[in-house]
Amino acid sequence: MKIGRIIGTIVGVVVLIAIVFTAYALITVTHGGNEQATQPVGAGVPVDLPTTMARGEYLTRAADCEACHTAPGGQPFAGGVAFKLPFGTIYSSNITADKETGIGDWTDDEFVRALHAGVDNKGQPLYPAFPYTSYTALSRDDIVAIRTYLASLPAVHAPARPNELSFPFNQRWTLSLWNAAFLKKERFQPEQGKTEAFNRGAYLATALGHCGECHTPRNHGFAMKSGKALAGAELEGWRAYNITSDKEHGIGAWSDQELIDYFSKGHAAGRGTASGPMGEVVGYSLQYLTPSDLASLVAYLREVKPQQGSAAPAAAAAAPTATTASASPGEQLFVGACAGCHLESGQGRQTNYAMLTGLRSVRDPHATNLTQIILNGSSLHVGGQEVFMPSFGRAYSDAEIAALSNYVVSHFGGQQGTLSAEDVAKRR
């Protein structure tokens, strides 16, 4: 009987804690945290903001709102972008000024609360695919500026597409528990003793740019692992690389200019070309950063704690291996469909963007991003141009794409490609 009572007590305590926690969660869910009266150092817009650009527009770009709120071929900010998550599909909402389907009816306070607390104007929790976990650090002034800019754009009538989520993920109230557990509703605080550039960079990377949402690995509760900031993660079939200052695993070895090229043009020779989700970040957001902000971002990334692993291994000096007498199937595919842009040498003379050598995506034996790009193509809008690669997923078989990926990884990346047809099938 003693045992029974102990168990009973434990169960009772657990239930009680759960009830208290749930009550706390439900009560605090709409609370946005302590608002600050003044802009913290690091927030706002840079001094070299071009006069032609509104404050709100710059911040909207820096916060990369458009990428997630504009469906392919759809109207800007009208929502409808699908996010395929392990437990279902979420569609982004319409954030144009349309009163009925957009946020035209919201008050500034409601909008600020949405970004700070992750709830809509009715107080309903939003799914954290909307990165309020990062935006919560934004200053109120900046959020209001974003809101003002959005309100200045054409209103688009576009009803939200219902999410397709399985139980229990379709129960919105559960999100308040998640928020209570994982959301720290705190505004950005500049780090004392660091340069202004560092702090500005921190604000850009964490609050506005929300880099960690993709680049920081997540824990079992699907929240960012704080100790592993920017150490690299996999999301929606893409690998967001380690962008810590680690020289081998991260971007420590990239020069400042290489980083700036990558942000502003989507390409750094011998380092990488932004594609997939990162291509969108460059296209919608990073290319618009002013020179001072780019420098700040670099300054910040230089000091991110180095992390190992979870990324493409170090570059073996990747000299393309000599062609053998009879070409492998992967090579045969490459010379037919790929060499036109990338060249047999991988130098991509047609356009620098087509350069393969030195890229992390071709040094990844799992070829995660490489297969994504081959399957789905890639499109980067930068500097008023479109740099694009067509998709090959429809006409090429799993076995072909596996063979091609393995060839590219071994030929240009000096790694042993390990893909099978089955692996590719899973990534479709």
Partner: protein, 159 residues
């Protein structure tokens, strides 16, 4: 103004920087031997040489060709090799509709310039980016070998 060196001549063009070389050649300069087939580097119809290397002009922004030597099919016969390739093409009667053939010949000439005696694998690697819908591949192989060796690879009873 953009200055291009095309077939040994400096030529000035006033075009947008992102305009692919293909359209500069065709629509601005009237050099129509370079063809449009796909516009995305999948077919090779637009192949020209940039400093001797075969490139797809449909995806090459014109600025990428500045300061380089551009050779188009119109200038190919300036070299012995170019003539030899064209001769082999005629000898074997490669062309059917002919639309892809200027691109094929440019790819073949670049290959032979780099590898005067190409192996089958070399030919495959250099030529597989050029599509021919008429299906002249068998003869393209033969013509390249003929241009390389000077030896007839098909019975040449052509009067």
């Amino acid at each position: 103004m953009i200055v291009l060196s095309i077939n040994g001549q400096d030529t000035q063009v006033d075009v947008p920087e992102d305009m692919p070389l293909l359209w500069v050649l065709r629509d601005v300069l009237g050099l129509n031997g370079t063809k449009f087939g796909c516009g995305m580097a999948q077919c090779g119809a637009c192949t020209v040489h940039l400093d001797g290397q075969a490139v797809r002009s449909c995806v090459l922004p014109v600025t990428g060709a500045v300061g380089k030597k551009i050779t188009t099919i119109e200038g190919l016969n300036a070299t012995d090799l170019g003539k030899r390739v064209q001769q082999a093409w005629l000898g074997i009667e490669v062309a059917q509709c002919g639309y892809c053939q200027t691109g094929q010949i440019m790819s073949a000439a670049a290959l032979l310039a780099a590898k005067p005696t190409p192996t089958d694998a070399d030919i495959d690697a250099a030529m597989s980016g050029n599509i021919c819908r008429c299906g002249t591949y068998v003869r393209i192989r033969a013509a390249i070998k003929q241009a390389a060796t000077g030896q007839l690879t098909l019975p040449q009873t052509i009067a």
